[in-house]
């Protein structure tokens, strides 16, 4: 009996060692192209695998003469779209998003936009109407994309800025909305309807931002074009 036990034990350990050996062979299981020289050259070109992946100080160059961030290109952080639903989470604090008194104000302003004359480019009108329907479906990010397409095609079309500003305002991004409306204003000298509407947007944005003095000024301006 004893010897059987011992032999059994022997066999088992043998088997285990085989399993172990098999596992040792494991690291060999990998993708076919694993040329390390290639990898080293690649990392020269592509400074991806550096430590400062998330930081701003990604500067691979030793001869850099700039004391600060090498790429001060994109200050705004991206909108992060949550996993399931594609809705825009504004990057600023969410508390700013819902401010009851201005909601109505925004609605009123946005409704007034319907009176604006159409763009003379068919493609722009098409994109604006796409944006409207996407917005209606709650696809805010997609709506923004449509409006920015329109803005690239027609950077001097005031209606595009009007929509962009109104959309940002309804998303609670009042500071952005105000600036977009200010830019829109520079495109519409002597166009009263637009001037009125942009000043109304500015007023609503400033109200949203708690800038009551600025809001009052914008209302006075708007009234000039009523």
């Amino acid at each position: 009996m004893n010897s059987i036990k011992i032999t059994l034990f022997k066999y088992m350990s043998l088997c285990l060692s085989v399993v172990f050996l098999g596992a040792c062979a494991g690291p060999g299981y990998g993708p076919i192209v694993e040329d390390l020289s290639v990898q080293a050259r690649a990392s020269q070109r592509i400074p991806l695998a550096t430590n400062n992946v998330l930081g701003n100080e990604t500067n691979p160059s030793a001869t850099d003469t700039q004391p600060r961030k090498p790429v001060e290109l994109q200050k705004p952080k991206p909108y992060v779209v949550p996993k399931a639903k594609v809705t825009i989470t504004p990057q600023s604090s969410p508390s700013k998003v819902v401010v009851a008194p201005t909601e109505k104000n925004i609605e009123v302003v946005i409704k007034q936009e319907e009176a604006l004359p159409p763009s003379d480019q068919a493609v722009v009108e098409q994109l604006l109407s796409n944006a409207d329907s996407l917005k209606g479906q709650g696809k805010m990010a997609e709506a923004v994309i449509q409006l920015q397409r329109a803005q690239r095609i027609a950077p001097r079309e005031p209606k595009v800025y009007a929509r962009l500003s109104a959309l940002q305002l309804s998303l609670g991004e009042a500071a952005r909305a105000e600036q977009l409306a200010l830019k829109g204003l520079t495109l519409v000298p002597n166009k009263k309807r637009y001037q009125y509407y942009f000043w109304k947007l500015i007023a609503a944005s400033r109200s949203h931002l708690g800038n009551s003095k600025g809001e009052a000024e914008a209302i006075i301006q708007a009234d000039k074009y009523k």
Binding site: Y29, Q66, R68, V71, E72, P78, E142, Q148, L164
Partner: protein, 753 residues
Amino acid sequence: MSKNRATSKSKPNAPEKWFSWVWLFKLATVLLVLGVVTLIYLDAQIRHRFEGHRWSLPAKVYARPLELYKGQQLAVGQLDYELTQLGYRFVQSATDTGQVQKTNQGMIIHSRGFRFTDGAEQGHLVEVILQKNKVTQLRQISGAAIASLRLEPQLVGGIYPSHNEDRELIQLNDLPNGFIETLLMVEDRDYYSHYGVSPWGIARAMWANIKAAAVVQGGSTLTQQLVKNFYLTDQQTLWRKLIEAPMALLLNVHYSKEEVLEVYLNEVFLGQAGKRAIHGFGLASRFYFGQPLNEIKLHQVALLVGLVKGPSYYNPHRHPQRATKRRNLVLSVLAQQGVISDVQKTQYQALPLDLSKAKQVSRYPAYMDVVRRQLQQHYPASALSNQGLRIFTSLDPWVQHQAHIAMVEQIDALNQRHGKIPTLEGAIVVSHRGSGELLALVGDHDGGYAGHNWALDTSRQVGSLLKPVIHLAALESGQYNLATLINDESIALPQPDGSVWQPQNYDRRSHGKVPMYKALTKSYNQANVRLGLQVGLEKVLQQLSEMGIEQSIPAYPSVLLGAVEISPMQVNQIYQTIAGNGFYSPLSIVRQVTKANGQLLSIFPLIVRQAASNDAVYLLQHEMRLVANEGTARGVYRFLPKQQKVAAKTGTTNDQRDSWFAGFSGQHVATVWLGREDLKPTPLTGASGALNVWGQLMQHLSYTPYEDIKPETVGYYYVNRATGVVIPNGCPDGIDLPMVNATAPPINTNCGY
């Protein structure tokens, strides 16, 4: 190997008398257990890899899609170029997707469609009618209305995992006609009937090879090939040999033929492009033909299938004859087996290889560099290199192409004119005037080397490029108009260290009192230093910071003449704000990021921030147009038609170490820098160096006539060029200048003298 060890280990424990049935039984048990354990282990391996995260997929970086719509102005040759880069084929009659047919009036394009971030766009058959490169009409052949046609965006690069494997995943229904037949006929005829290994196949392959006196067919099944590539290393070890067949059998047991085939199609290695390994037929089709797999024709299918046997030996770029021979052999096999007729075989064999005409190497190293840097701020490296993210950038392939050419050709011309200028480097930054999107980036003198990025990583003194900022600060103060007289007498300023700074004009002369606009068009140093000091150094620096320059700049008067180090990218940011009618927009690169499945992860919204008043910027823009019309930048009209309005400024630093040119047209803002790597003087001024690059670039970009929108507060006044006095029309030596009505001086009836 392990089995050997097992038997040898049992030997010392096996004296002669142990030789018996018991011994045999024990040995058999050991082997059985070993076999079972190995199988279980292999089984786990197979299932783990097959069902898990199969491949690390590099992030794909896309250029902007070309959008065609009525009224759009294209550049000469642009549409042909972009379609070629996308792998469209120019044919007599566009019947399939990916084809273009030239017509008398324009082109008929059969577009492919693409899953964009804002929704899928179907392929369309559309006629684009062009007049002088302007799209005058867009209509679907079906008659249905179409407002715009978005071509698919060009894939311009990837962010590769460390092993540099790249692939474009495909499914069985992406395969073109005849693909499966060809593949199976050449690589594994019994695929649908064998159990993962095929002794019969080996025998037949051997026979076929003997008959043909060449290796026509391989003996291992597709399943075995997949096991080899997918699970095993490339080393020829005994262990590998031993487990290949069992693994193939297991794979066959667990998964359907279709599943295994699909993985095979995506795994197989089909070529090498520098560091990048081309895997799978999807990417191989793009790589060799520039076309999606579903578009390729049988002769192309035959080439790809033929490549399986030896992608480098049959490399069609390097060995076209070998590749053609191999392809034709594959076509012969198809004919022998009755897949195609002999006539078809002859027709296909007569066709060229049809390799892509688009350039294959990464053409945009500097741009890709900036894409990576931006993404690294938002995503971890692992997410970028293995999750197949789709990155949509604003890169404009046409602008990038032209910028590259302008740099290379003009540097060549400068070297010829001045004798070789050693270590001459350069950078170009181009952005979209309306949005601030970065369209193109050239990071060195030939635009091809992915080394030091001179557009981003080098800050050099900018010379006169800051003079417009002085003028903007002055106009913003409300105390100046374009005709205000500025003293250009020499000026000496004691420095904190006791020395005296005495800037001089380029021509080393003083010009007395000059109207402000002339101080800019002639780039007088003395007048501009005086103007800057009158306005206030702090105000000028404040204005600069409003325009997007964040670095802290010491408030020395020499800063007024550009004694401050700024990168070409940042210079372009300053000019973007001027071009953007006083609204700062950060130069942006990425538009959207999605997951591999198309789910939107991030969008980068348009940001504008007012940095200067509308009327002040309007006046400055006018001044800068005069710089191009009659000032230091007038050389651009050697490249551009007279009626094309551009606003610009030259910049030259001490001893001509740096040659700068920055400015904008109706659509584009561009900055060019040239200088020596070793900081030594060059024979170049801004006007004799960087201007040429800028001029050639703008000459080849699309151009829409663009009138700036005059603010209500501004009017035009006729002014005496010498004295800056407003004069009646009809007086000699006058010029029309815009002024803010409230600050305009009264008319002088003596014609200003």
